[in-house]
Symmetry: C2
């Protein structure tokens, strides 16, 4: 059985909460549908941006079921299923595969630090063997600034050699282009995604698959345009890349997850979107005002979410 | 309702696995009972040494239930209940309190790094408020080398001020005596535990409560003797401290958790005790031989587990 590999622009979806901090499945479904309507190629639900590790296993499954019950296409979904416990990771991964998800994005177990490659290989291997489903496509999730447990080139090599039809790609959120370049050079054909749209053109020109980027929650169409321009060989790609990088740089002046939630609260008119689960904290009123002013200064119109397609 | 606060020597219990990596409840109960028989003052089940973050929520509950069903005293148990998700932490904490555990040892949520004190305060506060049980005693778990999310003096101060009858102590696994000293000085009456027996005498002499130490899995009686000697005002305390520090230093030449499991496998004759869950890896045969030789060289007899009381 052949499965399509992801490519293009994927978004790690922010997770909405009610004021008792329970997940708001309705708002989640609406936001996911809106982003697909804006043309993104997939939804990396339950990533870092999604506060996924602040959710229980049951909450993650419930939110995935809500998307499917509401008709969102499973093949466009790449849920995060990594966890500190290989048993939780196997459980979440088996659930995602059973529901037809196009792939999963898998963190390494991230509690113990300075673990060796043998231990990390065994972690991924145990999950893959326990799920034991040929439909499974694993995208490795390298995010050393947060997880503090890296996925090195040696580990990628061992996993790809052992599971060539299963371990098919990686998201590189190191922010270190030299590392992305090394993966692109070392693993041609591997679906390598940059963790920020700032590297989108560089990644696809280097043979990578695209990007999986938090700011796609606020600017999905603008980011997708860069990919389209590149795919069509348009001369506009570099100018469009400069524009999305400008927006990204503005966002990076703020804590990214609360900033995206504040923008979505403003865009949708639903103040609850600004809520985060502890340990994350929402932007202060002052930070929100400053962010909105910064966006306005670069011509990003929050009322229509910037460069987005409007009806 | 008044609850006793823990003091003395507590052990973060290693967790035994079967060869399919499921937890072995029978071996867990036996090991816990043996340590209490050796005189330790409490069992900090589900700590870092216990590979607790490699367990699911359900597995942790099952193991706690197994101890209680087998007659171990709930008041002597201090389960680790911290988690990345405040909902998991609240669930585990409520379960422990409902079963009469003497307290819980609580990690901060440890996925996001560089979170602020407001966010960490909100995390602990949400758990305490959701559990909403006056019997709850929280011991904060400061282990920055692993969690990478510290519990600073400012956070302790805010929590103790807000929850004086609930947040009653802390385990300091920073390995930084200056930090322990600052907590002892800043919070007299707080039940402060060193995270290593190397600091046991210094901690109790400074007004602290004792230690919660991994090596108690292998040398419980020897470590407890130091506490007894101090409590009785015996002149032998410093010599006994020097001895347990020598054993600790020997163990620290090896990855601590696999080393303790290898020693327990040798002591019990049950090879499965050496098993770890990924990402941790068992000691190699060469490492085991080297560890045993190092222990023999300092006169620690593995056949009787060193300085332990024998029947």
């Amino acid at each position: 059985m052949t499965r399509t590999r992801f490519s293009g622009v994927l978004v790690p979806v922010i997770t909405p909460f009610n004021d008792d901090l329970s997940p708001n499945a309705g708002a989640f479904v609406s936001h996911c549908r809106w982003m697909l309507d804006q043309g993104v190629d997939g939804l990396a639900i339950f990533g870092t941006t999604s506060e996924a590790n602040s959710l229980t296993v049951a909450e993650r499954k419930m939110l995935l079921e809500a998307l499917l019950e509401n008709g969102l296409p499973a093949g466009k979904l790449m849920p995060g299923t990594g966890a500190c416990s290989i048993m939780d990771a196997a459980d979440l991964t088996a659930h995602a595969v059973s529901r037809g998800c196009g792939g999963v994005l898998m963190l390494p177990p991230f509690y113990y630090k300075a673990v060796d490659t043998d231990g990390l290989f065994a972690s991924f291997s145990e999950v893959i063997e326990r799920v034991a489903d040929q439909r499974l496509h694993v995208y490795l999730y390298h995010i050393p600034p947060v997880a503090q447990v890296p996925i090195g080139l040696d580990l990628i090599e061992r996993l790809v050699e052992r599971y060539p039809d299963t371990v098919v790609g990686l998201k590189d959120s190191s922010g270190d282009w030299a590392n992305t370049q090394a993966i692109l050079d070392g693993f041609p054909g591997f679906a390598t995604f940059a963790g920020s749209e700032s590297f989108l053109l560089d990644t696809v020109r280097g043979g990578g698959a695209g990007c999986i980027t938090a700011s796609g929650n606020a600017n999905p169409a603008g980011i997708r345009k860069v990919y389209s321009a590149w795919a069509e060989g348009s001369g506009k790609a570099d100018d469009l890349q400069a524009r999305i990088s400008q927006i990204r740089n503005t966002l990076q002046g703020y804590p990214m997850i609360p900033a995206l939630k504040a923008m979505t609260a403003r865009f949708t008119g639903d103040d609850d979107w600004a809520l985060t689960r502890p340990p994350l904290t929402a932007l202060s009123d002052g930070q929100v005002a400053s962010l909105m002013a910064d966006l306005e200064a670069i011509g990003f119109d929050i009322a229509t979410n910037g460069d987005c397609v409007t009806a």
